[in-house]
């Protein structure tokens, strides 16, 4: 196609400047743990936080599991992670602030450059900002606080509602689930604790921003969301990190309880810098007539391994995952979703779109398990992959296990490149090849982007355009 058309490839002027690439020195930090992980470090974290005894016990048990478990070998290449070099706990400031003015200047500037206070003023029900290991700022609109909505950092949640935390903590994802869940349970710090009482509809999104500032940092946030009967909530997380030559590790655990008739949407926009290992375990337990929606956008990081899953445990429960991954040079996005159907009349759908370019690799890895009692259950999986050049790679690894016959399970996957005929059609109407390619890519992910809150949808299209600049040869 390019042989006949005039060639025009625009370049972003700020090509080399990674937008979120600045960082501040860590000299003013209130606490930095020595690199490496040992029982002493785990005890130190727990001591600094002044935690109850049962939590320390949980952490130590998890640490034992972590050391005993071997590295997973079935997914992405994790051999370069050096657990001894990572700082497991970094505290930039000693307390969480309620008003933006009180946040330390460097931290404030970082988040201001990311546009966070503006976003809060306009569109959000509540905000948390996590800087390395600790949440530094938090707020919740009064309307929701009055209705009994709890939106705290996980540490505050444990302090103020110990019984609630004890009842739900580590129940859906026990420490023994996998090596990184064990690591998180042993070293967790920060994250969000959300409780929405019966029948309360939180119409605006609750949002947390995660930021890794230090080099060789490990961020292990722990999020617990409980949406009680008939309630609904939408939680958004956004992640960024600055440029460093050596990698950081982000290993989160997210547990969500969706009670009878409740609804929860969890949206992730992940744009870590391209040397962060992002190894996350996310799972939701959905009860009768409940609904869980995972919206998962992965653009950054060196390696992402993330499979948001839902256990449909009550009659008529519904689950949905919308996943998008973009892998450029040196990146491997190993994402997917798991649907475990345990009750009758449950339904789920998983839509995954991936784009590989410049030698990047995207993988879809999924599991559909329909148990013997899940009669009249339905599942649909659609995976579409777009390859933008000959060096990139795309894999699809779905597994479907069905233990009863009254089901309808479908799976479809396609892998393709941008079609010559599609390009020709657009170019014959006077659109340059580059613009045409962008249009096709944006169209490819359109149905997922539409699920995002508006300001994110605009940002997402812009990010895709940015990633596509100059990639037409």
């Amino acid at each position: 196609m390019a042989r006949f058309a005039s060639k025009k490839t625009s370049k972003f002027e700020t090509e080399d400047v990674y937008e979120h690439g600045y960082s501040y020195p860590t000299s003013g930090y209130a606490h930095i743990s020595r690199p490496g992980l040992s029982e002493a470090v785990v005890k130190e974290i727990s001591h600094l936080k002044g935690e109850p005894e049962w939590m320390l016990k949980k952490r130590l048990e998890a640490f034992k599991i972590f050391t005993a478990k071997s590295m997973p070998t079935w997914g992405a290449d994790l051999s370069e992670i050096n657990f001894d070099k990572i700082h497991y706990y970094l505290r930039a400031t000693n307390k969480q602030e309620k008003t933006w003015e009180e946040v330390p200047a460097e931290v404030k500037e970082t988040f201001e450059r990311l546009g966070i206070p503006e976003a809060e003023r306009e569109m959000l029900a509540g905000v948390k900002a996590q800087y390395d290991s600790e949440v530094v700022y938090g707020s919740l609109k009064e309307v929701f606080a009055k209705q009994g909505v709890i939106f705290l950092s996980m540490d505050d949640g444990l302090r103020e509602y110990p019984d609630l935390v004890k009842e739900y903590f580590s129940k859906i994802i026990p420490a023994g689930d996998n090596k990184f869940a064990a690591l998180n349970t042993a070293t967790w710090s920060g994250g969000s604790f959300v409780y929405v009482p019966k029948g309360v509809q939180v119409k605006l999104p609750l949002q947390t921003y995660f930021r890794i500032n230090a080099e060789n940092a490990g961020q292990f946030e722990r999020t617990l969301i409980i949406v009680d009967e008939g309630a609904s909530a939408h939680y958004v997380e956004a992640c960024t990190a600055p440029t460093f030559s050596t990698g950081s590790l982000h290993s989160a655990v997210v547990e969500i309880y969706v009670k009878k008739g409740a609804r929860c949407q969890y949206t992730t926009v992940q744009n870590w810098y391209k040397n962060v290992y992002n190894l996350v375990t996310k799972r939701a337990l959905v009860e009768e007539e409940g609904e869980m929606i995972w919206v998962d956008f992965n653009m950054g990081s060196k390696v992402t391994m993330k499979y948001p899953s839902f256990v449909l445990a009550g009659r008529g429960a519904r689950g949905e995952t919308l996943s998008m991954a973009l892998a450029g040079a040196g990146q491997h996005q190993d994402t997917g979703s798991k649907a475990i159907h345990l009750a009758p009349h449950t339904s789920s759908s998983i839509i995954s779109k991936s784009i590989s370019k410049g030698g990047g690799r995207t993988s879809y890895r999924g599991l559909i398990n329909i148990g013997p009692n899940a009669k009249n259950s339905k599942n649909t999986v659609i995976c579409d992959a777009l390859l933008l050049d000959g060096n990139s790679r795309s894999d699809t690894y779905p597994v479907e296990r069905i233990y009863n016959s009254e089901v309808a399970v479908q799976h479809e996957a396609t892998v393709s490149k941008i079609g010559e005929d599609q390009l020709f059609y657009l170019m014959s109407r006077g659109i340059t090849e580059e613009d045409a390619s962008k249009m096709i890519v944006n169209g490819f992910i359109d149905e997922l982007v539409r699920k995002l809150p508006l300001e994110y949808a605009v940002e997402m299209n812009r990010l895709i355009d940015h990633e596509m600049e100059g990639s037409i040869g």
């Binding site: 013997p372 000959g390 699809t396 479907e400 399970v409 799976h411």
Partner: protein
């Protein structure tokens, strides 16, 4: 593992009759292959069919269809994998896995994998696991067939 190689401009039809592991390699440009397998099991039987279609040259085509019917407490497992190597442009490969379950104790597992290392390809797979739709049975029964006869006819049609 049974190994089948397809060479330059060769067109081959492969019928998979026995469960087991198969490796089909499209060795040279222009190779084309059509793979079909259909299985019906019942009682407590358990079978596993695994087919790897490996495209090692450009301009290759493959079309793979695996079908299975499981009755009683049988367990059927269909595993297919398409691998397209780097610089094997202009290749098309399709993989379809269909399973019909006849009883509630029957189990099925479908694993349709793709590993694609180049962009100039058309590649897709589809898998489905269902029981016989009640409407289909009703249609045949309303024309005087018994339920078991109707089921038999539908299974026959499904596998042919």
């Amino acid at each position: 593992m049974k190994r089948i190689e397809v060479f330059r401009d060769q067109l081959k039809s492969i019928a998979i009759k026995e469960p087991g592991e198969y490796l089909v390699i499209l060795k040279e440009a222009g190779a084309e292959v059509d793979i079909r397998g259909a299985f019906k099991i019942d009682q407590k039987n358990k079978i596993e069919v695994s087919v790897v279609i490996h495209h090692q040259a450009p301009n290759t085509r493959a079309n793979t269809t695996l079908r299975g019917v499981a009755g009683d407490s049988a367990h059927i497992s269909l595993k297919g994998k398409i691998i397209i190597d780097h610089a094997c442009g202009n290749s098309n490969s399709f993989l379809t896995e269909r399973v019909l379950l006849l009883s509630n104790q029957a189990h099925a597992e479908c694993v349709p994998d793709l590993e694609i290392h180049t962009d100039d390809v058309k590649c897709s797979h589809a898998a489905s696991i269902t029981r016989i739709p009640e409407a289909h049975l009703f249609y045949l029964m309303s024309r005087g067939l018994s339920r078991s006869e109707a089921e038999k006819l539908i299974v026959e049609g499904f596998l042919s």
